[in-house]
Symmetry: C2
Subunit: 324 residues, 2 copies
């Protein structure tokens, strides 16, 4: 993995993806005590950065393979990203989703034209189900993060951050990234290394699912103790990826860990001051910027809002919780 | 009023305002039965387009007048726009707001550093209060829409729409604008006349407050029957402006009228598919695009989301109502 692959992904997908803006709000700066710039990937098509990786991977397939169709496992954001990417190329997509995934994610994945196969997390073996479907139908598996073309696609978000920071005259800043398997974090880290070496990526995770933060401390891939669900469903992966971890280990600053309550408060502040819908897992980086300022360096922090695919009930809970 | 004044406003304020993107979502196109492009002014600083007009008017004042400070009447969006504009120039702002304005709007106006003076809609005379404060302190009144520099500032939104439509190769479309006093609608209409003559502005209002639609039909300024409050507080004005109406009458297509329920449904769809927070008055144009398609011409419609300053309780009501 290197910058050339990210540049190549950018050349393939830049006409299809949205270049998300870099936003700010004076009242968030006051809360954080420094300048806060937000990269709202909730405004990306399909409501999360995952469309970048989905488009990158599907567009990189040789045409004869792509025509067979694609398959993916996902609790929802990768599902929608791959589903819309497949639709853009007019090829079938089968998405295997846990039956307890957020309803909006299941409904939207179907609305993008994918065949959704639900499985019971507790009783069925997802990998076996996927292997059977993919061999029966000859579908190509698009992994959610441990896949070079997916990492390259997510890296296009880092290219944009590098450009937008330069436009604002920002040469040094920490870049907080909502982190599950590390596809977005490692992609952004690689892009920043090449294009904005004064910007440093730092992964942010929810309490109890801090596998990446612990892995960066120990230098080896650690696993989460729990695999139970949590509010931040989008970023609950058992451990950092085989491909993503070495990149993060080489390039990232220490991981940050926030509580679910911090994520809800950040969602309420995103509603109030940015007029954006963040999902819990997509709000952890902003939560770190706002509520963990003592762990940050510099007078400017850039943070991703990685997605906004949240069920209304959960969003209402964040509004009720409020920012205080 | 003409395009030169809008261009001049753009030159003064373009470094301070946000150039909002033009967004879309495949699933909204399906609902509307045509391509829907959204201009999300909820992403403007202060959460509504009013910051454009506020910056334009405050920046146009001669320095010695500006230094005395400014005063504005507003239920909330103009309040915030003028408050932040005054802060950017380091001059005082006094904002007269009804005591039943949305709490978020009052709180944010104060947070931008303005002195908020609340009055009782039923018992106090707003104009008298404003005249007294302004003469006592020598403050300069910034009118919410019937003020050339405010119209010129709102017109910069139209300049952006013209440019963004051209980038997408769109030469003909209807441009739906959430309409209160007509500052945004007339500003956009003037900008489109000069820069994108195939694009036509059409005002959208809530049922019961369709003064502009009726005025466009009769050719003379009509008044709303009710002045009671409503869900769409941002766009409830008694009648179109003296300056704005002749512009709208010359340039706009027929007005559209949607129900409050349509506005709530559009808010729920904005949440689901655009990941944006729209306030009820800011959602009426999208509501017209989605639910009043038979009243529209062409295969593409562009609509403003004029603001997102909504209290959590009202937003929760839209989520509960849902899009169906």
């Amino acid at each position: 993995m290197n910058i050339d692959r990210i540049n190549a992904a950018h050349a393939r997908i830049s006409g299809a993806i949205r270049r998300t803006p870099l936003l700010s709000a004076p009242l968030l700066d006051e809360i954080a005590g420094r300048r806060v710039l937000v990269k709202p990937e909730c405004l990306q098509l399909t409501g999360s950065f995952k469309f970048r990786g989905g488009m990158s991977a599907v567009s990189a397939l040789p045409q004869e393979l792509r025509a067979r169709g694609v398959i993916a496992f996902s609790s929802g954001n990768h599902a929608q990203g791959v589903a819309l990417a497949a639709r853009r190329f007019g090829v079938p997509a089968v998405i295997i989703m846990p039956s307890d995934a957020p309803q909006m994610k299941i409904a939207n994945t179907r609305a993008y034209g994918a065949e959704v196969v639900l499985y019971d997390r507790g009783r069925e073996d997802r990998d076996e189900l996927g292997a059977r479907l993919s061999s029966e139908r000859g579908l190509i598996l698009i992994r959610p993060f441990d896949e070079p073309e997916v990492i390259a696609g997510q890296g296009t978000c880092g290219l944009e951050i590098a450009e937008q920071a330069a436009e604002l005259g920002i040469a040094e800043a920490e870049v907080l990234v909502c982190c599950g398997g590390g596809g977005l974090t490692s992609g952004i880290a690689l892009a920043l290394e090449a294009k904005a070496p004064g910007l440093r990526a730092r992964p942010v995770e929810p309490e109890g699912y801090d596998d990446t933060a612990r892995s960066l401390r120990s230098g080896t891939r650690e696993r989460n103790r729990s695999e139970a669900g949590g509010l931040c469903d989008a970023i609950l992966t058992p451990s950092p990826g085989q491909l993503t971890f070495p990149i993060m280990n080489r390039l990232c600053g220490p991981g940050l860990v926030v509580s679910e309550d911090d994520a809800l408060r950040a969602m309420a502040l995103t509603f109030a001051h940015l007029k954006l819908v963040a999902e819990p897992g997509g709000a952890v980086a902003l939560a770190a910027a706002l509520f963990h300022g003592t762990e940050l360096a510099g007078d400017t922090v850039i943070c991703t809002i990685s997605g906004g695919n949240v069920d209304p009930q959960v969003f209402a809970r964040a509004l009720e919780r409020g920012p205080g």
